[in-house]
């Protein structure tokens, strides 16, 4: 990941943000990310992000759960240790539906949450370099990544022209590290290595 240089603009209304995102992309700037206090429908499309495949992961975890339950119970009650419960067959599939269902849900839920945390790099004691603390309150923060071709002054005035307030140039670490929010621990020197 490493430290990169960004032009950062703030927006206070999603009605302004949407056209700004489109204009910025059309002008050829590389939008690193837009940080918002709540999910905004359609913003992912506007930024050109592809759909998430978290659903597929959930489905795969789910059928793993079903297979685990049915497979294990079948083995335990028909192969490993057969017990005659009231003369019923050893392979009593209808009676296993509740547990098979519960394990489907359990595996799917746990698997999806862990996948989500992995993909978004979320965990206790994970620290990241935030662009603007107000982005979890009422501010939509757009960060444009500077490349060797970016004319900073031009980019700043462009962002201002599409409605951004308080536009600044910032060097930000884009990765994560193990750290605490009550201490200023940035393990990397904040020196921008400008990407090409």
């Amino acid at each position: 990941m490493g430290v990169k240089k960004f032009i950062v603009g703030n927006f206070y209304d999603e009605e302004v943000l949407f056209p700004a995102v489109k204009k910025t992309r059309r002008a050829g700037y590389k939008i690193h990310d837009v940080f918002t206090p709540f999910p905004i429908h359609g913003l992912d499309k506007a930024l050109g992000l592809r759909d998430t495949s978290l659903h597929t992961a959930g489905f795969i975890f789910g059928i793993t759960g079903t297979a685990t339950a049915v497979g294990f119970i079948t083995w335990a009650l028909t192969v490993d240790w057969q017990i005659n419960f009231g003369g019923k067959p050893y392979f009593a599939l209808p009676a296993w539906i509740p547990i098979a269902f519960e394990l489907t849900v359990l595996f799917s839920a746990i698997g999806m949450v862990l996948t989500f945390c992995y993909l978004c790099q979320l965990a206790p004691f994970v620290k990241k370099d935030h662009f603007n603390p107000r982005s979890t309150d009422d501010t939509f923060v757009m960060a444009i990544e500077c490349t060797s071709k970016t004319n900073e002054a031009e980019a700043i005035s462009f962002l201002q022209s599409v409605g951004a307030a308080d536009v600044q140039v910032m060097n930000k670490e884009t990765g994560w590290w193990i750290g605490r929010y009550d201490k200023d621990t940035i393990p990397f020197a904040k020196k921008a290595a400008v990407a090409n």
Binding site: E14, D33, V34, F35, T36, P37, F38, P39, I40, H41, G42, L43, D44, K45, L47, L49, T52, L54, H55, G58, G62, F72, A76, L77, D80, W81, I83, F85, K88, A95, W96, P98, F101, L103, V105, L106, S108, A109, I110, M112, V113, F116, C117, C120, L122, A123, P124, F125, V126, K127, K128, H130, R134, S135, T136, D137, D138, R180, Y181, D182
Partner: protein, 483 residues
């Protein structure tokens, strides 16, 4: 998308007052950031005292055995399993609000879902205590898990409803916890970024997992919430269905009923919503959140209460009819003699149940009473009393007179330690709820902001002009506006 999400002017606003995004943050974070009030301390200390009483009761039971309870030869399940089913039932409203109403796109859920989900988790924690401590030799409780053991390995009975319960309740608890916490992460990040005190920065920094609010992360978060809601919806129905199987798959007259699963699920939602009302009426007042948990929210939940209460009422009558129609003398005896006969030893409990669950909620046909906070609060307590008696009636009146009349004489009343255990779970529940309301935002901040421009009071007015436009023109603009 915008067109689909457009909400008619006819609907009353879900957020009152002239709010913007920052004001929403301020309002909901204020109780978390301020020092706890005197009222909070009083409530919290009472809860802790009740919890200590509960712990003492459990210690007595574990030290001297289940004999400390008044369970006897025919009544093997008394207060403990009554309380278990009661608490599990209460736990159902949270998931109903957070999952089923999310799938049905009910915007009003955003004001109440966070607190209701928390309530679910605490209620399931309380419920779990009862079967565990009822085991008696609680140090062997892990026997219920299928693990390789030195007894063969002899596996647990996967065909038994009691084992299904183990899986259902533990899955329900885990999934509710994950659903609740994944929703909390963005709001904890809001608290982290506002924090001034060192311990707050540390605590909310750890708890918010390094959330940034990146668009991609929100996209995944939305997908996660939706799929978890989709999973929780059948889950919540399955949990109380399986709890009802504990009874329905037996051959005890009064329990051996095919109507139990839907009847239990309706009853669970009924009592759960009543508990949500009790908690939220107090929470909105004490934390000054009347703009977010509005009278509209209260009214719509009262509608759910009268609906589910009436379903439960129909189930009671169906049970009676089927008992008569079955022409089975045992079924008939269990219903007509042990329950409906008011002169029978437990007849009184049947009529308390009927009054609280079926008759009393009918007051909510009146709009005026649905919107009356005092009536709502009183009714919410009454419904939960009624639902406790429903489980008591099902359990005790079905088993206190078994097939051997010589064992009929014993009248079951709980001992102080049975009562203490029940009271102790109230302590556990409210201790957790007080801590939750102090350290976590009781309303989902991000979700309120998400609906603010569609359902906020001040934005409703702005929509009036747009509403006057011809539909087609509006649709065109909305479709081509954003994307």
């Amino acid at each position: 998308m915008s067109l689909l999400r457009y909400e008619s002017q006819v609907r009353p606003p879900l957020v009152d007052g002239n709010k913007d995004y920052h004001q929403v943050t301020e309002d909901i974070c204020r109780p978390v950031e301020a020092n706890p009030s005197k009222l909070w301390w009083i409530g919290f200390l009472i809860s802790v005292a009740l919890l200590i009483f509960g712990i003492i009761s459990v210690v007595m039971e574990v030290t001297y055995g289940v004999g400390q309870w008044n369970l006897n030869k025919t009544i093997g399940w008394g207060w403990d399993i009554t309380n278990f089913v009661w608490w599990v039932g209460i736990g159902h409203a949270g998931t109903l609000i957070s999952a089923i109403l999310l799938l049905f796109r009910q915007g009003w859920r955003t004001g109440v879902n966070r607190a209701a989900e928390a309530m679910t988790i605490f209620a399931v924690m309380c419920a779990g205590q009862f079967p565990i401590w009822h085991m008696g030799r609680v140090w062997d409780a892990f026997f219920v898990m299928p693990y390789p053991n030195t007894r063969g390995p002899l596996w647990v009975n996967f065909n038994s409803p009691l084992l299904w319960d183990v899986f259902a309740i533990s899955t329900y608890f885990t999934v509710s916890l994950l659903f609740w916490y994944s929703g909390l992460i963005p709001d904890l990040a809001t608290l982290r970024d506002r924090a001034k005190a060192k311990w707050r920065k540390f605590f909310y920094g750890v708890a918010s997992f390094g959330w940034t609010g990146s668009t991609k992360h929100w996209q995944r978060h939305e997908a996660l919430s939706l799929v978890l809601a989709g999973l929780s919806t059948p889950l919540v129905l399955s949990v109380h269905t399986i709890v009802s199987f504990d009874f329905a798959t037996s051959v005890i007259p009064g329990w051996h009923t095919t109507i139990f699963p839907p009847y239990f699920v309706a009853g669970a939602i009924f009592s759960g919503f009543a508990m949500v009302q009790t908690l939220l009426l107090v929470t909105r007042k004490v934390l000054a959140l009347e703009d977010y948990i509005t009278i509209e929210h209260i009214e719509v939940m009262n509608k759910v209460i009268i609906l589910t209460g009436s379903i439960v009422g129909i189930a009671y009558l169906t049970e009676l009819f089927i008992a008569w129609y079955s022409a089975s003398p045992y079924e008939n005896f269990a219903f007509m003699e042990n329950r409906v006969n008011v002169m029978s030893p437990y007849g009184w409990s049947y009529f308390i149940m009927m009054f609280c669950n079926v008759l009393a909620p009918q007051v909510f046909w009146s709009k005026k009473l649905r919107r009356n906070l005092t009536v709502t609060f009183f009714m919410s307590i009454l419904v939960n009393v009624g639902m406790w008696f429903e489980r008591f009636v099902i359990i005790v009146t079905s088993i206190y007179r078994d097939y051997l009349p010589s064992s009929w004489s014993t009248y079951y009343t709980p001992t102080i330690w049975e009562v203490g255990f029940y009271v102790g779970t109230f302590g556990l529940f409210f201790t957790c709820y007080f801590l939750f309301s102090k350290f976590f935002p009781v309303i989902a901040i991000a979700e309120i902001k998400h609906i603010l421009k569609r359902s906020g009071d001040n934005y409703k007015e702005k929509m009036e002009g747009i509403e006057a436009e011809p539909t087609l023109q509006f649709a065109e603009e909305q479709l081509h506006g954003h994307h």
